[in-house]
Point group: C3
Chain length 205, copies 3
């Protein structure tokens, strides 16, 4: 129940940040809605298609599509006011990342998949939506370059798995990893932490 | 039966426009065939994968692959003559859009999915092939930026759903929405109609 | 058994070339691992999703994920030494292409799909990973532009199908097409063979 509320907040937040990204690319209103739906629900869809977990979330709950599209349009209308809410957005975006991660891990656990796949399922749910958004906006996905997105998702998923393994009560097993992941993400944003990069230059191939 | 003929015309037309797009990017002959197949059959494949509707069209009817590849090669050979046929191409491309949309809606209706998903299924079938083409050619998808593609698809799908709901005879339920969608698309091309854009500039994030 | 060993060599080689490509784009370490996994295992995943062949390879064998990620990290650490191993890399990369192709054909044959789909299944397994890598690195896929990748894959697949049709013993049916494909690829690299391109310029549309 709590997770559902957090999930709804998360897809709304993702839709809103996606709408702002689409606005930076001069997309039309329908394009904004499509990008918002893909960003918010794409990560879960990639996970479900790869794991063969049918039907997809938005096929079972088409109201989520309306929610994300609606949030995107409101964002587009209210964009000038959004500037003041930057901190709130970053918080909601980080919340979305950890919520999606835990949900992705849960679904893979229920399907009794191997640990590695459970972890990956969480990462895909948390990150793939943003990758799709960046590919459609013709950017190199942010995920792959900075911001510790994937690392936060991996940490949250690993902590959740650990908690599930030691049979911690479900509520705590969810909330503590999400809290730690969220904190880690906010600290990373605050202090501009970055993963070491691998820089390679040559003219071979 | 009529729909099958229209479908074959549509995938051929999509393959031909895709081949011209590939030619603009200096692709080799196999690349041209691959882009043509992905553009013509990709929308339906995305729909089938997301809805879990197996086997895919081209797995059941591999002859469609040969048709699209063949059309692409003929286009590449006859490209210099294609310039004169621009109007015909635009017409066939618009026809493809509405035909794909109606087929996508039909398939989702047969699977008894919710209305929103039926509408989306039509849009995916109509538009996703072009999005894949643009992503592979490293463009920002046209769909998301102009040309009313998605709007035409949504209108056609909505009219078809309305007709299906009021039990209009199948032939009319198909032809009238397709005709109106086609007209709308051609008017949009003729008078350069565009959806309002959402333009947003900042240096946040 | 032999095929399994070749497969493991192939995914390791693909992971290593992918890591070098990621290094050219300044990705961080997790990005390098993700790109390596997608390049090495993405072709097979695309095939399995399109053919509805569940569960996917890496869901059944999550150890492959660790292998590819490990190979990518070792490559990133040892990158300065890699320059001397160019020829070895090109050989392993070509080996990967033909091995993936034969495996893709085998899987589609076992599913008793039509010939065209079997051939395509081999091509997707061999080439789609590289296409995904290029899309994520924001390039026009190499496959579609040069290097005879797709042609080598098609040739290998066609020879394998021919051998399977004439009931050649499995070992030879695998090794001979792979050998010929490998030879063709290396000759193409050595003599810089290219498919004819289709170049088309206009300002229509």
């Amino acid at each position: 129940m709590l997770l559902l509320i957090l999930y709804l907040i998360a897809i709304t937040a993702e839709a809103m940040t996606a709408a702002l990204a689409a606005g930076r690319r001069d997309m039309d209103w329908i394009g904004v809605c499509i990008i918002a739906c893909i960003t918010a629900l794409g990560g879960g869809s990639v996970r479900d298609v790869l794991l063969g977990h049918y039907p997809l979330t938005w096929v079972k709950h088409p109201e989520y599509l309306w929610m994300t599209a609606g949030a995107a349009i409101i964002t587009a209308i209210a964009a000038p006011m959004m500037r003041r809410l930057q901190s709130l957005f970053l918080l909601l975006d980080a919340l979305g990342l950890v919520v999606f991660t835990v949900i992705g891990c849960q679904i893979a656990l229920e399907m009794q998949l191997p640990i590695t796949v459970v972890l990956l399922s969480g990462m895909m749910t948390g990150c793939a939506g943003g990758v799709l958004r960046d590919v459609l906006c013709n950017d190199i996905p942010l995920l792959l370059r900075k911001e510790l997105y994937a690392s936060v998702s991996m940490l949250t998923g690993a902590l959740y798995l650990l908690a599930a393994h030691y049979a911690v009560p479900e509520l705590w097993a969810m909330l503590v990893p999400m809290g730690i992941g969220l904190l880690f993400r906010l600290l990373a944003l605050r202090f501009n932490w970055q993963m070491p990069r691998f820089v390679y230059r040559d003219d071979w191939r």
